[in-house]
Structures are given as C-alpha cells and as structure tokens.
Symmetry: D5
Subunit: 116 residues, 10 copies
C-alpha cells in the first residue's frame, strides 16, 4: 500500500526546515459499525534527503477510503509508512476525526530519527 | 460505576503517542441547588497497554446525568476511574462548565505514571 | 406538565414588541436508542397580556430531561404548551440539536394569533 | 429621570437618515433576586429636529445601575423616555441581557411617529 | 436507490413548520477525474404527512460514496428522490462542495408542491 | 474641499451596477473635546456617467484628519460632496465610529436620484 | 478571450435552480501603476440550457493574470463574456478586491434574461 | 470585605490540580472620574486544603460595584484577599477592563506559596 | 515630547506583576510618502516604583499624529521614552501597522532592567 | 534577482528587536502543471545593521509571479536572498500555500547568524 508514495530530492539537505501538509478530506470505514469516518490528517516533518510528492500522498490516503480500520491504528500505520519511505529527521502526524455519538477524537504520533 | 468502561489492546505499545477525546455533552446535577450542570470533558492520554473504547466511555459519562456532584469532585473522580481501568503512562482531564450566576469554571487534573 | 409554567402581567400591552429567550441547555432522550439528545431552544414572541417567567420556563424545560421524545414532536409540543399558557399575539420556536451520526437537525415552528 | 437627557439640533432635517448607538455597558438590578443584571442596549433612530447627546445618554443609562427593574419594563421605559425627549420619526431599541440560569434574553421595542 | 429512504408519520400535519437537516459528511466521485469530491448537503422542508427518518437518510447519502456524478446532477437527483418519497409541501436542498483547483461550488434547488 | 475629488468615465453606463468602497482609516477631531475620533466609512453607489477615482477619495477623506466635526455632520457632508461630484443614480454611506465612553455610534445616509 | 470557456448541457432545464461558484485566486494588473491586484470573483446564476465547465472557467480567469484593467471594467467584461457563452436565465457577479492604500473595493453586476 | 468569602474542603488535597474561574461581569467605579468601569476577572489556582465557594465569590466581587478604585489596586487587593482566605499553593488573577478613551488595560498578578 | 507622560506611585512594589495596555488608535505619517499610517501599540510592563497614567499616555501617543517617522523608529523611540519616565523592571512594546501595498508590518521591542 | 532588494540603516543596532512582515499576495507558477500557486509569505527577523525596504521587498516577491518553482525551493531561496542582502542576526520565513487537490502546505525555514 505504501508503494504508491513517491518522493523527490530535498534540494536543501544542509538546512533543518519544517514542511507541514494538511489533508482535510480523509475518510475511512469504522471496522465495528461499517459506517464511514471522516477526519483531517496533518503531517509535519523535517526532510533528510527526500520529500513526499503531494499527489502521490493524496492517492495513498485515498486507499483508506473503503478500508475498515480504527483511529489509533490508521494514524500509527501512516506514520510507519511515511518513515519507511522518507526516512525523515523528524515527523509528527495528527489525525482529527469528526464527532461520533457526540464525541470527537484525535491521535498524535511522532517519530525522531535515532542519530546513533 | 467504573466497571462499565471497556478497553481494547494498544497495537503500538512501543511508541509513546497521544489520544485526545472531547465530550461536549456532559451533564450532572448540582448537589446544592438540584439544578442541572452542563460541561465539556476533554481527555488527553498516552496509552500503555490499553485504550478506552469510545462507546463505553460515553455510557460511563452518562451515569453522571442524574447524580449530584461538585465540579472539583466529578473531575477528580473521573481521573481516578480512568487511571484505575487504563493504567495510562500519562493522562490529563479538563472539565469546562457553562456559566452559573455569570461565572464559568473549569477544572484541570493530571496523572503521570510513577516509573519507579 | 405545562402547569409548571408561570406568567406575569405584560406592563406594556398597548405596544407590539418582541421578547427573545435562548435556552442552550436543553436535553431529552431519543425514544429509539435511549441515548440523550442535546439542543438549544430559542423562543421569540410578542406578548398579549402575559409574559413567561424565566425560572419557571427553565423548570418546564428540565422536565424533558429523562423523557423519550422525537425532535419534531418536542418542538411542536413546547409551542402548544406555551400558546396555551401565554396566548401570545405571535410566537416562533427554533430547536437546534447537536449532531448524531454526523447529521445535525433543527425544527422551526410558528404560531400567529387568529384575530378573527 | 429622563430630564438628564440632552439634545442638539439635527443639522440635516430634510433628509431621513439612521443613527445607531450601541451601549454594551448597561447594568441594573433584578427586582426579584437583588442580583445585578448586565446587558447591551442598542438604539436605532431617524431624527426629526433633535439628536441625543451621547454623554447625557450615558449618564441617563447609569441611573439604572442600582435600580431594581425587569428586562421587559426597562426596555419599554427607555423607549418612552427617548420618544418623549427626541420626538424621532422612528426608533427601535434592542436590549440583550447576559445569561441567567443558562438562559439569555433580549427585548426589542419599536416606535413610529404617527404622521396624522 | 431511493428505496432505502424510510419515513415516519408527521404528528402535526395541521401546522406548516420547517425541518432543517445538515449533512456535512457527503462524498462522491468526480466522473471526469475519478477523484473523490467532498461536500455538505443541507435539507430544508415543510412536511405534509411524512417526515424522513434520519438514519435512513444517512444510509441513502452513503450510496453516493463510490458513484461518479456531477455536482449539478447529484443535487437535482437527491431532490427528485426526496420529493418522490416524502411529498413535502416545500423543500430546498443546498449542496456546498469543497474547493477544487482553488474554486468552490454550491448548488441550490427548490421544490414547491403544486396546490392545483 | 470637494474639489480634490477626481472622477473617471463609467464605461458601462447602460447597466445599473453597484460599487462598494470601504475606508477603515478615517479619522477626524471631536469639536467638543479636541480628541481624535476614528471610524470606517463605507460607500455603496450605482454610477451614472462618472465613477470616483480611489486615490483622490483617499486624499479627500484625509482632509478631515485635523478638522473638528460631529459624527452626524461629517457623514451628511461627505454624502453631499459625493453627490455633487458624481451625480450617482443611488448612493449610501455608512460611517461607523470606534467607542467613546463605552458607546459606539454609526450613521447611515442615503441618496436616490430623482428621476423627474 | 471568451472562446476558452467550455459548457456542458444542463440536465435539469425544466427547473430553475442556482449555481454559485467562488474563485478566491483572481489576479490582474492595475493599468495605472502596473502593480498586481488580487481579488475574489463570485458567480451566481440560474442556467438555461448550458452550464459552465469549471476548469475552463479557471483558465479563462487566468488570462487576466498579466492584463492591465480597472476593477469596474474587468467585472463588467466577465459578465458580458459569461452571458454571451451561457445565455443564463439570471446571473450575478461580485468581485471583491484586497485593500490598496487602506481602501478595499467590490463591484456587483447583474443580468436578467429578457423574456420578451 | 473579604469576610464574605466562603470556602469548602478540597477533597483531593494529595493532587496538585488547577481550578479556573471566569467572572465577566465585574464593575467598579473610577476614583478619578466617578464613571463606572467594566471588566472580566479570571482566577486560576491550585488549592491546598480549601476551595472558594462560587456564590460567595460572586457576592464578594459585587462589593466593588459602587467603590472607587484603580485597576492596578483592585487586582492586587483581590489577590491579597483570596490568598488570605484560601492559602492556595499557587494563584494567578487576570483583570481585563473594557476600553476607556480608545485604550484597554489588563493587569496580571500571581502568588506562589513559599514552601519554606 | 516625553515630558507629557505622567506617572503615579505603584502601590504594590513588593510584587512583580504585569500591566498590559492596548492602544488601537495610533496614527502617524509616513516620512517618505506623506501618507498617514495606522496601527495598534501594545505595552506590557512590570512596574518598579511608577505606573503610567493612561490619559497622559493617550496624549503622548497623539503627538505622533502629524509627525513623519518610520515604523522601526517610532517603536524604538516610544520604548526609550517609556523607560526613561517609568524605569520599569521589564517592558515590551508591539506596534502592528495596517497593510500598505498588500504588506503588513509589526515591530517588537523589549527592555529588561539591568539589576547590576 | 535579489539585486532589486533595497535596505536602509537600522537606527537602533544596539538593541535586539523583532520585525515581522506579512505578504499575503504571493503568487508563482507550479513547474509541473503550469497552474498558478497562491500563498502568504511571513518574515520575522532581528536586524543587524540593515533593514529591508518594504516597497523593494514587494517588487522582489513580484518577480516570482510568472516563474515555475516548487514550494520548498521558493521558500529556501527567499531565505538565502534575504540573508545575503540583510545579514540579519536571526530570520524565520513561513510560506503558507492555498489548497491544491484538497491539500494545503506550508514551509518554515530559519537562519541564525553564526556568532563565531
């Protein structure tokens, strides 16, 4: 699934800088009820040698459209995929889901490259 | 009362991450006046081995609907219950109540797992 | 149920004027699912000889707290009760309910005194 | 009480135009509970030969600071006083009061000069 | 497709009143590009003998999730389906779609029962 | 003072259309206290043969910077000047002033060309 | 220039309905100063037999990117082009431009098909 | 004056937690001009053995209604009174006053219990 | 110019506390174009023995009304004057100016008393 | 390209202070699709001996109007140019671009003068 993600070379690898990408049109399916969930996925990362190509990121996220998966798991899995493809110096993902049963939820996961 | 809370396994226990849950439809009863109070309860926590199931959390909070309890006590008691059930690595609860007599109140309580 | 509503004399019956009352803390129970509903009830009316007393209106609305009733019916019933007690020259009630299943609903009902 | 209101000549009596004055610092006392009420009084009027002087209007409204009076009555009384002093072609007053017991109220009164 | 819509009896058929339903989680597919579209569908109607059941309306709208259809056509088709099932006295549907290529679009359609 | 206003030809005199100009940086001096007043002047007009040039309008409004003049009079005078220079088919001017003594004021004046 | 606009058939010509299109990324050049202008163009229209295709509308508006033209003229010219291509039953265009010299401007033009 | 403040026992003295109380209906009198001042007083504190009772806090603040006192002094004095009565572990008070002469002011004072 | 600033004694010199003053009606003149500039000046300071009197601060700022001075210089000069008059323990000034040529600017300067 | 940037002397070089400049009218061209991009560029810097002249900064940014360049590169290149011309003590640039394909992006780059 992560193979759809494309990258391009970071032209300024000597500088630590921040890229933020906000995707407010995320939708997946609740594995318990079969009902669609809606949310906003926000990426923040400092690239090392690679940046993510935006159209491929959109297509990657669209793959969850008809997949049944819990909030906590979809957020962690997207982080794993992005780290695998980009090897960023640092990345944070915040997934905010619209209310269900009067309750709204968001998940925040973070990755820091181990300099070791 | 806390026995109604259900949990599920955290699939990513090796990663410290943040779950935020906002419940804007909390209501209880003022023990002094017998009048209903209304508020928003916000949970933030880093799970250890367990996450709280959202529907059971909703039912848990509904148990306060006809109970007389002060702002400070309801907030602390919810924290005690959640810590007992989830054993989280860290948890903060903010309870914001709608104005009474032109005065609005919020209570913030926090728990950190003692690593000892 | 409507007998709890109290009134006081309109001191300016020779003038047509508008009273608006906003009650954002309305809650009842869904008769289908048994889950609580939350909403805001807004009253607008032109009094004839009587005005509604605010504290009694609050107590009247609190009677719905544990009653199972559909959105459309609760709104129409409140209008019937208010018209019965106040005999206003004109009244409009708007009931706006918080989202359920990602869908929010509001009901608007209106009454005009038949001058005949 | 209305004698404190001062006026000045309307320099453009041949033109119908609108003056709006917003006074967000109104306070009086509830005659039932003795507790202070707070609100915003908005005036809209088309002057005939006189306009109201703003500082005197402020002092006029301050006279209600320690007076016990109901929402409906204070609004109608202010309209009566203003009409008596200004003889405007048209005037509307909207008084919006801050919430009490979770309920907020506003009163709208209007006057049109009878051309007869 | 419209057969999934369920109705219930209007308990107050002698009164003309307004029901508004807002569905911010609508998604379909662009028939030209195959990309998902996102939007908010707002219904306003005056019922005759029938009201629409909310859960069935949600399931009805979910049927568009993987269907390719233009903005103008989806809005008109939903109106046709709702009128066919509910025979309302009056209905308006507003569909607002999120931006594409920096351009956002909304469609407003309306139906009035021909009293003839 | 109005001679500073410049105009240019309306290229579409056969069509009635609306031009709105918002000037949030208006300042003059209170003739009573000598203190500066601040406000926003909004123009709406349907041109006949002439449109106002924006830079000249700015310079025209700057002439009031150190002039002592009442709210009601400055608004009416600007309308008179604009009508004299532009002969518009219709014009409305709204002048909104920042609060003084906790009270804010706005003046609305309007002109319609007499077709006679 | 208008030849770039493409249309498609209105599938519901028997119904009068409203299409609104908001384009917040309009830019042209001031013919006096050579400086770029920025604005939002909003279209509202009731189609007859034709609707405008959105991508072609975007490309049409991009043609103004390096063209020197006054606010009033660009708005009227876009209306003329749209009416020529679409022959709508009714159309309104509102063009709102960002501030220059502390002054912001918007132009509203409207067309109604002459039923004669 | 501070003797009107009532307290109740903190049921969770073993936990450091935060109580925030917002009072937007504060009014006193300017000692220089005799004109009323309006403001919002916000309390944040970590209780030791005592919490402040809300109704008594409201009555305490109402005592300033007709008292002439400067912004800086009223804020510091309220802090002194609260510390005297509650002996909190930590307390911050922010007093924000509405504009006078186009200028708005806020005062922030803080107290930390000396553990010595 | 700074001699117009008046002070009064700080009644609570034993406590470090914060005074914030917001002046949204600042205006000066651009020394390059001769056009007026508009902005908001925000003061934050911890008083030592003296506080600034608000009316004198207003008159001090009004002295810039017809003076030509650059953004950076006016902000630094106001800080120098205030420090000279008040000898505060700490002070920050933020000056935010309205857009010119589509560009808005703010300047932040800070002073800390050297305890040496 | 950077040669168009003009500077003026910092009159307060002995003080570290912050200048913020917000340019919401940035536009360039996507090198992949040829479509225009729109964004807001925010500069924050502490000057050493030189400040940037605002009109030259506007003309500098206008040079990107018809140039094809990626988000990440345009932001880094602007930082390089500004540092080259101004030699600031510290500078941060945030570039926020409007949504494309439902996805919005911002880039944050920072420079600190190496005191060595």
């Amino acid at each position: 699934m992560r193979s759809i993600l494309e990258t391009f070379s970071n032209s300024y690898p000597n500088r630590d800088y921040l890229i933020e990408i906000v995707c407010p049109e995320f939708t997946s399916v609740c594995p318990k009820t079969g009902q669609p969930d809606f949310g906003t996925i926000t990426f923040q990362y400092t690239p090392d040698n690679l940046c993510v190509e935006l159209k491929s990121l959109k297509l990657y996220l669209q793959q969850f459209r008809n997949e049944g998966i819990f909030y906590e798991n979809v957020t962690n899995r997207i982080l794993d995929d992005m780290v695998q493809i980009l090897s960023p110096r640092w990345m944070r993902i915040v997934a905010s889901f619209t209310p269900r049963g009067g309750i709204s939820t968001s998940i925040t996961v973070e990755y820091t490259h181990d300099a070791g």
